[in-house]
């Protein structure tokens, strides 16, 4: 049995027939071939499948595809306009806020959601909000720096604390 839905993904309106138990993530990856949203945990806690549904962040591994009926879905593929990167993508690129990159689309989408609801979050708020996006490579310092750079007012010490202390030859 399939259910007809009307939705819009990355600005493109579409109609689709989905299985009642199909997750939004499966719909995006398997039906629309949008492979940028990643499955990490399948239980909505690692954040790598984060997409925006009506501008709110959602773990697409938990939401059913039928629930996007009449809603606007934005995935990582929908952020850039042609060669013009979204400011969040640009900040992640400039601060090299990724390593293996698997959690990166979800991290970027969560940051997008954070800044649209709270353009000037404190560091505490950033940590709290993004604690639902796990980066096992441990790139948190660079992500924090990227998010800090996007705030209207730049706080101090937004760069990771690196130092090259001794060079011997």
């Amino acid at each position: 049995m399939k259910i007809e839905i009307r939705t819009a993904v990355n600005g493109r309106e579409l109609e689709a027939a989905v299985k009642p138990n199909q997750t939004l993530l499966e719909f995006l990856r398997d039906e629309l071939h949008l492979k940028g949203s990643m499955e990490g945990c399948g239980v909505g806690v690692c954040g790598s499948c984060t997409v925006l549904v009506d501008r709110r962040p959602v773990s697409s591994c938990l939401m059913l595809a039928t629930n996007i009926e009449g809603k606007q879905v934005t995935t990582i593929e929908g952020l850039a306009v042609g060669d013009q990167l979204d400011p969040v993508q640009q900040a992640f690129l400039e601060h090299q806020a990724f390593q293996c990159g698997y959690c990166t689309p979800g991290m970027i989408m969560a940051t997008k959601a954070l800044l649209s609801s709270n353009p000037r979050p404190t560091e505490e708020e950033v940590r709290d909000y993004l604690s639902g996006n796990i980066c096992r490579c441990g790139t948190y310092a660079e992500v924090l720096a990227a998010v800090n750079s996007l705030k209207e007012r730049l706080p101090q010490n937004s760069e990771p604390n690196h130092a090259q202390v001794a060079t011997r030859s």
Partner: protein
């Protein structure tokens, strides 16, 4: 232009921030079907009956794989010993072992069909604790397994059969009995560490198909395409040229993807299905597939009153789980450095690789070393406290120095460890000979701790590289090194660019494809920059020499007077007469066409004699230090990390930012295992196999003060002096935190990881219970 030593932006950035980076699970092939597997519910059982006939008839099912499809003599694989079956044969040895696999038109169909497979078990006695498993009365997991011939270190082991102790490594120096007799004080402790999951956010994934010529092609999320190819060729009795491994981006490895995990089953199922088969694990299944060796480490140390360490005896037991994978190598690797980075006249070091009825382990960032580092560095602070010597001072007195001969017989070169610990201590505000904490034992108390580490890299090993220069002044490095997040494509491009005087963006680095890219031992052991980087540099050097010789004729100059700068060749300091790469191709080939090619096989030699434990243990040694400050809430047992500083000796940082990020990754990962990460089992049944119950550190756990320091002590054999850094920072973090906790608690020592709140409470309130 200096490509080398600069924070060059990562070449994989644009794809990764757009969601365009391709991972294995993103690959769709025409006709592809999906695999799901049935797993054992018993930790140890004889398989009386496996009947998949109903599942085979289920609509949408394309193939079902059980032991009936395999022949006993060709059912097993493994990198060191061939003990692991593609699917369970006569028995299962851990909860979660694969008994059968279904390939179907949809994942949900495959899942449903699994319910139709009938399995009858006859439970067997099981053993879960590695120390128990060593006892003669323990149930034996494996009678005898065939040795694998694929590893260069295959002669480093002395395997035993009919025991759970698969391998014992032993090395000694001096006379341990004399050493203890000469000691003024003796310290004896037992330290333990837990099972930790790698937690790569990308689960294991593979896609396999067979070409009509019976050639096997696999896309897989692996750190080790060459080893996968060799093992699959052995398994299917094919020449290696009939197995092709392609590796797209890998979403984190940390050791968990070094050896075959999904590939043997996916390939076998694809052969039966005659269709491409995709198998992607769920997170729960990742927990059943690999983890870090838990350990029990007995350590006895004799010291003089002045702080000189005289004698050290270590017995380290590594729980390798139900299958060996590289367990014998991991335990050897831990054993050889279990005395620590110290000058000790009398050493007696032993390590054991032991089977238990728990999921298989395999390499984990640090490869057996954090387990022993936890023991020797924790004990070091107890020694300092008893002798009244500052912990930094005690370490500096005993640390190895340039040119020392290590217990393995290796002569140590590029030894920046004293610099590492001094800089880490200084950055953390360490004050000599001063109590680092308040002596209060109630409320919230603070303390500081230090730790150091020495680690080897896989030796012997082999990496080949091929560089192709194009007439447009671009170059391609063909390599089987895997981009697992560490930035290898960028750092290798920098090395080639530096050698050829090209802008770094003109150098492309391939993804591994074993039909095209040359052999590489493994993207692990933090060896890529040192070994593959060395190969890439030498390959580029060959092209450099060709360019210089052409240029010498063209510019009527001596080769020594020429330089390659920004894609041009010129007499040093005279850019006005420079020649482009295209002009050099023109001079050589008559037109700007063709390729100049360089290649190099970079071999590191050595290995340890299994009888003596000695030889050449490592092509280079990792040296690192950590300083930590904690606040311990003695009411709740909660530990808050106030600051953590990690200093690693990078030799020469090819890309300092990437080195820092690798180091930060090690620090965060180790903070998790120091404080809370722990795979829990109840009689072999996994209790917390999801990210709901087992949570890796999140941004909320990221310490407010968090510093990475790089020390650079060039290594003569590394490209431009570089060594590896990927794992260097991991080991010292746990004991530095443990030492900070002990310091905060006035010397109360916790010996079991992780440092859970209940353990802290039990330690500070001895009346209410013993530390568990």
């Amino acid at each position: 232009m200096n490509a080398l030593g600069a924070d060059v932006r990562r070449v994989d950035g644009p794809a990764k921030i757009r969601g365009w980076a391709q991972y294995t699970a993103d690959i769709e092939l025409p006709g592809m079907v999906y695999a799901k597997v049935l797993r054992s519910i018993y930790p140890h059982a004889r398989l009386v009956r496996v009947d998949a006939s109903k599942a085979e008839k289920f609509p949408g099912v394309v193939a079902v794989l059980t032991r009936n499809d395999l022949k006993e003599k060709s059912a097993y694989y493994g990198p060191v010993v061939k003990d692991q079956p593609v699917v369970a044969m006569d028995r299962v040895r851990y909860v979660g072992e694969v008994i059968a696999a279904v390939a179907a038109e949809g994942r949900d169909i495959a899942e449903e069909a699994l319910d139709l497979i009938e399995v009858e078990y006859e439970p067997l006695p099981a053993v879960f604790d590695p120390v128990e498993a060593m006892k003669p009365e323990a149930p034996i997991l494996h009678k005898e397994s065939a040795r694998s011939e694929i590893r260069l270190d295959k002669d480093s082991f002395a395997f035993k059969s009919n025991t759970n102790v698969l391998n014992t490594y032993h090395v000694e120096e001096g006379d341990i009995a004399v050493g203890f007799r000469e000691s003024d004080e003796i310290f004896e402790d037992v330290y333990t560490s837990q099972k930790i999951q790698h937690g790569h956010i990308e689960p294991h994934a593979a896609v396999a198909y067979w070409e009509p010529s019976e050639k096997l092609v696999i896309y897989t999320s692996t750190q080790n395409p060459s080893s996968i190819r060799a093992q699959l060729a052995e398994l299917f009795d094919l020449p290696q040229s009939q197995v092709r491994i392609i590796v797209p981006f890998v979403g984190g490895g940390y050791g968990g993807k070094v050896h075959p995990r999904l590939e043997p089953l996916t390939a076998t199922l694809a052969r039966k299905a005659r269709r491409p088969v995709q198998w992607v694990l769920t997170r729960e299944e990742v927990f059943l597939t690999a983890h870090c060796h838990a350990s029990v480490v007995k350590i006895k140390t004799g010291v003089k009153r002045d702080g000189t360490i005289v004698a050290r005896q270590v017995e380290a037991v590594y729980d390798t789980g139900a299958y060996a994978l590289t367990g014998p190598s991991t335990s050897k690797n831990g054993g050889e450095v279990s005395g620590g980075p110290y000058r000790i006249a009398h050493q007696h070091l032993t390590s054991y690789c032991v089977y238990t009825n728990t999921p298989p382990t395999g390499p984990y960032r640090g490869f057996g070393v954090p387990q022993v580092c936890w023991a020797y560095e924790s004990q070091m602070d107890d020694i300092a406290r008893r002798l009244g010597i500052d912990p930094l001072e005690l370490r500096l007195r005993n640390l190895v120095r340039e040119g020392d001969v290590f217990v393995t017989g290796d002569k140590l070169i590029s030894v920046g460890i004293s610099d590492c610990v001094k800089h880490a201590a200084e950055a953390a505000g360490w004050q000599h000979n001063k109590e680092q904490t308040s002596r209060e034992l109630s409320g919230k108390v603070r303390g500081k701790g230090l730790a150091v580490m020495i680690k080897t890299t896989m030796t012997p090993s082999n990496s080949s590289a091929l560089v192709r220069l194009n007439p447009d002044g671009s170059a391609v490095l063909l390599t089987s090194s895997v981009e697992i997040g560490q930035g290898t494509q960028t750092s290798l491009a920098q090395i080639v660019a530096e050698e050829l005087g090209l802008p770094v963006e003109r150098v492309a680095v391939t993804f591994p494809d074993t039909d095209v890219t040359p052999f590489d031992q493994s993207t692990s052991s933090s060896r890529t920059v040192f070994t593959m980087g060395g190969a890439a540099r030498q390959a580029a050097y060959q092209i450099r020499q060709q360019l210089l010789e052409i240029g010498a004729k063209l510019l009527e100059a001596d080769v020594e007077d020429l330089e390659l700068v920004e894609g041009y060749l010129q007499v040093k300091g005279t850019p006005e007469k420079r020649r482009s790469i295209a002009q050099l191709f023109q001079a050589r080939f008559g037109a700007a066409v063709g390729n100049m090619v360089g290649s190099y096989d970079n071999q590191t030699t050595g290995g340890l004699d299994p009888r003596t434990g000695k030889g050449k243990g490592s092509a280079f040694f990792f040296l690192s230090a950590c300083a930590a400050e904690v606040e311990v809430d003695t009411e709740t047992g909660k530990i808050t990390i106030q600051q953590v500083v990690s200093a690693v000796d990078a030799g020469k940082a090819v890309n300092p930012r990437q080195c820092h990020m690798q180091n930060e990754g090690s620090m965060i990962m180790s903070l998790g295992s120091a404080l809370f990460e722990e795979m829990v089992f109840d009689k072999g049944q996994p209790i917390n196999s999801t990210f709901l119950e087992y949570m890796p550190p999140s941004m909320e756990d990221h310490p407010r003060q968090f510093r990475s320091l790089l020390v650079e002590t060039p290594h003569p054999k590394g490209p431009f002096g570089a060594k590896g850094v990927g794992e260097a920072g991991l080991g010292p973090v746990e004991p530095a935190i443990g030492n900070a906790v002990a310091n905060a608690l006035g010397g109360i020592r916790l010996k079991n990881l992780p440092l859970r709140p209940d353990r802290i409470l039990a330690a500070v309130e001895p009346a209410t219970g013993e530390e568990s």
